[in-house]
Amino acid sequence: MSRKLLIVFSVVIAIGMLATACSGAQTEVPATASTGEEVAPAVETVEVIKTVVVEVPAAGEAQPPEIIQAAGYGETLQAILNRGKVVCGVHTELLGFGYLDENGRNIGFDIDLCRAIAAAVLGDPEAIEAVPITAADRGPVLQTGEVDVVTRNMTWTSKRDAEWGNFTWITFYDGQGFLVRADSGVTSLEEMDGATVCVTTGTTTERNLATAFGDAGLTYEAVTFEETSAVYGAYEEGRCDVATSDKSQLAAVRAGFQNPDDHLILDITISKEPLTPAVPTGDAQWLDIVKTVMWGLINAEEYGITSANVEEMKSSENADIRTLLGVEGESDWGYGTLGLEADSLAQAIAAVGNYGEIYDRYFGTEGIAFTLDRGLNNLWTNGGLIYAPPIK
């Protein structure tokens, strides 16, 4: 009898405990697990309360009309300075953008952007912690603030900006293109009418392909694969006339073919893939720092400042150049407010070079990854889209 009662009681207690646990979880963290949409507001609420308590008296004591900053402002920079490292979410297996060299060192276009940030903030391009993240991880690491910045070949979209974090400045204009055999003579979308196209299944790539052909009133036969590698394998074996993917990827694959010159990447671009570093929401200062570093790299190319001539350029005739490089006596480009040193941008440029140098290092004609025409990634002065606010 008592045994039975004991069992009944324990079941009741267990259910009760479960119920409290569930309800407790609901009140404390409202649906944090589901999507990023709900996470950001929850975090913000907490932070606003904190502002009122901490910041207002501080502002009262300090110099006259200092702007009241939202809580979280400056926290990232402080954490980085304490830690001595910038934590970047990166790719480790994307040739050209984020990959490894034979010694296991992180290299690539995206990695250099991370190093530029580290050089600007800490004065040391090696002071990075490159956390390898997967495509599925990109949202969560931003939402949780596990990394300071994601430099991992990430397309800026409105939804990601709303849900994941704050995107900084477009550093690479990618887009879906087509790879064809040079002897096929194809140069335009119309000439591909009725072609067999190799494409990965279930991706936006497949959808973009359908839209592009549908809008032009053309037909095609899709040969779909789960694996990206299978797409190019099939293309190389001649099972399809055309392979489609992001142009940077096509260029990487083309470089790997036995005779790269037998294959052409067409000039057509059927999607917009603006690759952009992103930071977690909530620290406007850090967002500005990352943006300014990107602007610095782009402006440096405009002015012709390279990693080699940073020092000479400090005595340039051009006052704007001297400002950018933080020469003593020149005006503040914002470093005071951003909590950086005057020569932060000079440090970044000296470490990794200007935008064009980074691009050429990996994708130029002598690039160590593969060769990709700059196209849209030319400076605005050269007919491209790379443009940044002035540093002054």
């Binding site: 004991l6 069992i7 324990s10 079941v11 207690i13 267990a14 963290v29 944090t32 697990a33 996470v39 480790t92 297996e93 994307l94 040739l95 990959y99 490894l100 060299d101 034979e102 010694n103 296991g104 060192r105 992180n106 912690e129 490159a130 956390v131 390898p132 993240i133 997967t134 599925a136 991880d137 969560p140 690491v141 939402q143 949780t144 603030g145 596990e146 590698s229 190019y232 394998g233 190389e236 990487a252 694959v253 470089a255 790997g256 073919f257 160590i368 990854a369 593969f370």
Partner: protein
């Protein structure tokens, strides 16, 4: 075959020709099958051999052996991985000396392999002379360990204790290091990779999940309802979901729940996932063993006045665990292979490093066959020695010979 026994003694074993005739060409259709089979085998082998030695491009494997071994572990701190290897090889040698045949094959193989690796000609600058010299120490250290292990005064429990210390020391002290330490500077787990992380995750998963699994199995048979319900709930929930789901749970969802100050390391999160998963399966395997113990033994022990704790520790568990060795080892082998799944939560294990190597330069992008085959061989070697050791253990304990 050449020995001829005239008249006396048992008949000599059949000669090769006789054996072939008896087994392969006994009648016309067997002869036909033999010829057909031999043709297929011949061409397959020829093709494989031509592929391996001519067609295949092994540069992705030979160009960066260190990547496969330790991933991105900083090369200037490589000596720490080296010291860890030395400790392990020495202990493997000692284990060989103490436990003889269970580890003999593995120890000899390991010695030979490391010896070959030390002198293997590679067209790479990443393997320097000091590294080769370091590798060459290992076979001798195994032999030294073997001699020490054979000494009368060295017992199994000493070696086991040393293993325990080493297994704690390597992943907790030597490899991660400390903040602000000049001798052992901190190396974040984000740069650990390759075989190193695969072995750490599997050994860690096996060592940690086993006791938890045994406890869960005992809990499931417990007469305490709360313990029993919890065990059943845990086991059934974990066994009801795929490992990928659990890894995602621990890697992403857990991070979203926890405040950013109390962040758990990525590798630890993945390890937690594998331990939880493996513990549930171990529990069910062990429960099978527990149920095979006749209840009469427990009753007899009770009649002798033994306490429940002693009955479990001294009578039930030793027999139950002996019974389930094959299944447990089978499960550990599958856990070892399952660790490749951590690749999808952003940890560069052996498979992840393989993918990274494929992107090392454009010429490697299409060489997946070579890289994946190489990784498969590594996994096979480890799995094979695990099952070999378990077979020896079964023989020694006489499982299934009652």
């Amino acid at each position: 075959m050449t020995s001829t026994s005239d008249g006396v003694g048992p008949p000599s074993p059949p000669g090769a020709m006789e054996w072939i005739r008896k087994n392969l060409f006994s009648n016309w259709y067997n002869s036909l099958l033999t010829i057909l089979g031999a043709t297929v085998v011949y061409f397959t082998l020829i093709n494989i051999i031509t592929w391996v030695f001519n067609t295949a491009d092994w540069r992705p494997v030979t160009v960066a052996p260190l990547l496969y071994l330790v991933g991105q572990y900083p090369r200037e701190e490589l000596w720490r991985a080296g010291i860890s290897l030395l400790m392990v090889t020495f202990l493997v040698g000692m284990s060989w000396g103490v436990w003889k045949r269970y580890v003999r094959a593995f120890a000899i193989f390991m010695g030979i392999l490391l010896g070959i690796l030390a002198v293997f000609p590679l067209e790479t600058t990443t393997i320097t002379l000091p590294i080769r010299a370091f590798m060459l120490i290992n076979p001798f250290l195994i032999y030294l360990g073997y001699r020490i292990g054979r000494l009368q005064s060295v017992h199994g429990r000493h070696v086991a204790t040393l293993w325990l210390i080493t297994l704690l020391l390597i992943p907790l002290v030597i490899l991660p290091g400390f903040e602000n330490s000049s001798l052992l500077p901190k190396v974040p787990t984000t740069v650990w990779g390759g075989l190193l992380i695969t072995l750490l995750l599997s050994v860690g998963g096996i060592v940690l999940s086993f006791p938890i699994g045994v406890l869960l199995a005992l809990g499931r048979r417990s007469s305490l309802p709360v313990v029993k319900l919890f065990s059943i709930f845990f086991i059934e929930v974990v066994r009801g979901v795929p490992l990928v789901t659990i890894l995602f749970m621990f890697s992403i969802i857990l991070a979203l729940f926890l405040p950013s100050e109390s962040r758990i390391d990525r590798v630890i999160r993945a390890l937690m996932g594998t331990v939880v998963f493996s513990a549930a399966y171990t529990a069910e395997n062990v429960r099978g063993g527990l149920q095979a113990i006749p209840p009469g033994q427990v009753e007899a022990a009770k009649a002798m006045g033994l306490k429940n704790f002693h009955i479990t520790i001294l009578i039930v568990l030793p027999q139950a665990l002996r019974l389930v060795i094959p299944t447990i080892v089978g499960q550990f082998i599958s856990l070892f292979k399952d660790t490749t799944l951590v690749y999808i939560v952003g940890i560069n294990d052996l498979l992840g490093i393989g993918n990274a190597v494929l992107n090392l330069n454009p010429e490697f992008v299409r060489l997946q066959m070579e890289v994946y085959l190489f990784i498969a061989v590594i996994f096979w070697v480890f799995s094979y020695f695990m099952s070999y050791a378990s077979l020896q253990l079964e023989k020694a304990l006489g499982v299934g010979e009652r």
